[in-house]
Amino acid sequence: MSGCPVISRESHDRWGGMAEREEQEALLEGSGDGDGAGERLRSTGESSGMSAVCDPSRFAHRLVVLLIMCFLGFGSYFCYDNPAALQIQVQRDMKVNTATFMELYAWYSWPNVILCFFGGFLIDRVFGIRLGTIIFSLFVCIGQVIFATGALCNAFWLMEAGRFVFGIGGESLAVAQNTYAVSWFKGKELNLVFGLQLSMSRVGSTVNMNIMGWIYSSIESMIGAAGPKTLGISLMIGAVTCLFSLACALILGYLDKRAEKILNKEQGKTGDVIKLSDVKDFSLSLWLIFLICVCYYVAIFPFIGLGKVFFMGKFQFSSQEASAVNSIVYIISAPLSPVFGFLVDKIGKNVIWVLSAVATTLAAHLILAFTFWTPWLAMSLMGISYSLLACALWPMVAFVVPEHQLGTAYGFMQSIQNLGLGVIAIAAGAIMDTRGYLFLEIFFVACLCGSLIAVVMLYFVDNMTGGDLNLSATKRRKLQRLTAIEKES
């Protein structure tokens, strides 16, 4: 699950953090360059007499762009969790055990262990945002088609290859999507746009979880038998969403080019500068944040990947109900992410938020492991804490790293997150096959405890070194004002 949802979800958070920081600095410096650009755009736009929808400087046009932008990622979000939605069918039709099944997720993660560092570079220096987006969309499309062909030909290795290609496109596409958002909405509705894209990603995942099983059984009754062929056709239908997203990429490229001509605006850039030599300057706090990140996410995404079968096996849920409860984490975090983002911004004290998020997730896993209480409860808790963690954890990086190293720090964080997810996905599958669900849950609990240890250590390290990770928002603002004054004088 490192996948699209994961990564892009997280890179949204990462971008949210960065955008906010930029805004703050802009305010401190007194002249927001984003706002300036906005003014410029507006004035040029007004001079040409176009209808509001076609005029790139008008809100109505931006709304259309926003819509296309949201659907740009839909295909990859939808297809990323195809295996989870069809786990039983994949394992039965392809005759693979759970560990092998989970390799489908691992193969998505592997390319991203490296690509996290280069996605930004490829967009800024090599392809440009427009071509880059189209290329990454193509990768997603082709990857999904290979994945489906693998099922059609009853060749599991081909399915894995498909996931690998899909992974190459998926993560970088999310970076591209964010770059587009910044380029079109910076200084305007940027936070709202991030929020909407985030919600859209979860809509994609949720729709997938709840619809793929139905598609499969429809195909099954149409061709009269279940088998690799049924699976292949279902996945091919899933690939239609990728084609749709590719179409969005093409339209967006055209609109962006057109806006460039009309408004003389530059092509968007990620601004990521990756210098691997920065790694040696990373502070202990940053490494602890990495540790929290890896240990936390490995207890969420591989779990959701195996969740459906778990709910059917342990809680006797029907297939539909199991899919629904498995997607509740995504459904809850769609509306909650903006709320928590706002709260954490206002209150500060990020470490305490992270601590409560990890502890709540731990409680959710303990409930799943040791009780027969309805999983709706535990999964809702997990959804809430997961949203809270994303809002509190990712912006912390910006507090412990100088700005010029931010790109490297975030790249590194996503890279090890992907590495962790790839390895743990396979391990989780193997544990489930040989030791069962209780042991799997214990394993996730242990991972979360690792995360908890890291949070506690971070709290003390930050406290003793006088860092400002756990300051309240008011204190932070005072501090920032002080530094700003010092800078001026």
């Binding site: 342990k314 297939s319 489930m432 069962g436 669900y437 042991f439 609990v445 405890c449 003793m464």
Partner: protein
């Protein structure tokens, strides 16, 4: 907090259990085939598990449908006595006895009467809801020809096997295949090394029901086993499920089914048949070959159903006056699951025993991981706060007064 307390309690229980286990209860087990006169083939297998002051007898036989009679005696010198002439006569009543008769505190029997086969075209595995027309003629195990149990007897490993084929085999389903009941006896408690890895004690024996290479009569065939139980009137036979959160030994299976007999006014279990709700489609018992199974409610058996010879020989011709006779079906397969045809193999295991049925508990590994994982952050938090407090205090005391 409650969870923590519960875990602590579990740890304690485990510790006590480990300590208690240091001297596991042992029984001296004798497994032998009771030979009949002049080489006849009675296929009578006697398992005698002798304890300090009692004995559990399991008498297996294939006179009629495969039957096991379980007898609990409070004398460790009780023995099996067979009157062969009577046994082979038309009225075998009283031919098989445990002596001395007054030492018998409890007796029951289980008869494996039929194997159902039905066509599950919709792959719903709904045995009780399947229409009559989808059923193939059931295999009546009383009509089977059973191989010589003496040849499969292993009295050191304490196991034996009854292997049977359909005598009249109109569909030629049994050309290469057979149905077997394997019997295992145990001298002391442990855990079975093969799936579903049942936990047993010296008070148990294990039986495995295996269908090998029997040709299914359709592509979508599923099977079910019918068992008939005898229980003295005034006792209660009940069928229930014990749900456990612990699936460590049988991955993904959380249900333990239990057929037990209790005194009407006493909840103490007397005899039990216990199984995990799973069978396997492959001898290796891997998780991917798991075939979940389902039990159906107990039903009274009609008076017309002929009890097998062994049951009549032990309980007497008037058995129905003192005993209630009930049937229980276990169906193998789950909706959307593989059919029998995939491997042409099915194995289901159960424990038959006397006393309290064994219950799984958390393995030491699970408890250790939980304890370490949950305790470390808490310890770290406490140590951290203390260190911080001391450091702060030191810093303040280092300040010199200004004046």
């Amino acid at each position: 907090m409650r969870l923590a307390r519960r875990l602590l309690l579990l740890c304690l229980c485990q510790a006590i259990a480990c300590w208690g286990d240091s001297e596991p209860y042992r029984r001296e087990v004798h497994l032998k085939v009771v030979s009949g006169p002049n080489g006849s083939l009675p296929n009578l297998l006697h398992v005698r598990a002798v304890g300090h002051s009692d004995a559990i007898h399991y008498v297996w036989g294939t006179l009629g449908a495969p039957t096991v009679v379980l007898v609990y005696s409070n004398s460790n010198e009780s023995t099996l006595d067979v009157n062969w002439t009577k046994l082979f006569s038309p009225f075998p009543s009283g031919a098989v006895r445990i002596e001395p008769a007054e030492s018998i505190l409890y007796s029951t029997a289980i008869v494996f009467s039929k194997i159902f086969e039905y066509d599950d075209g919709n792959n719903t595995a709904n045995f009780s809801g399947t229409s009559e027309s989808s059923f193939y003629p059931a295999y009546n195990l009383a009509d089977f020809v059973w191989g010589d149990v003496n040849k499969t007897l292993n009295s050191t490993a304490l196991r034996a096997e009854f292997q049977g084929v359909n005598a009249s085999d109109p569909a030629k389903a049994f050309q290469n295949g057979s149905v077997s009941f394997r019997v295992f006896a145990f001298e002391e408690g442990s855990r079975d090394p093969i799936a579903p890895r049942l936990l047993y004690t010296a008070n148990c024996s294990k039986l495995e029901f295996v269908i090998t290479e029997v040709a299914p009569r359709g592509k979508n065939s599923r099977f079910a086993l019918e068992m008939v139980t005898l229980e003295r009137k005034g006792r209660r036979k009940s069928m229930d499920s014990v749900w456990s959160i612990d699936d460590e030994y049988t991955p993904t299976i959380f249900e333990m089914a239990q057929l037990s007999s209790e005194l009407q006014n006493d909840s103490q279990v007397q005899a039990f048949l216990q199984w995990k709700a799973v069978a396997y489609g492959d001898p290796s018992g891997g998780r991917d070959e798991a075939v979940p199974c389902q039990y159906h409610r107990l039903q009274n058996v009609s008076e017309a159903w002929p009890l097998p010879g062994l049951a009549v020989a032990f309980f007497g011709g008037d058995v129905r006056e003192h005993y209630s006779v009930e049937a229980l079906n276990i169906s193998f397969g789950v909706a959307d699951g593989e059919f029998y045809e995939k491997h042409n193999y099915l194995i289901w295991s159960a424990l038959l025993g006397f006393g309290t049925p064994p219950r799984d508990s958390f393995s030491t590994l699970v408890i250790v991981i939980m304890a370490v994982a949950l305790a470390t952050p808490i310890v770290l938090l406490i140590v951290g706060f203390i260190t911080m407090y001391i450091l702060k205090k030191q810093r303040y005391s280092d300040y010199e007064p200004i004046n």
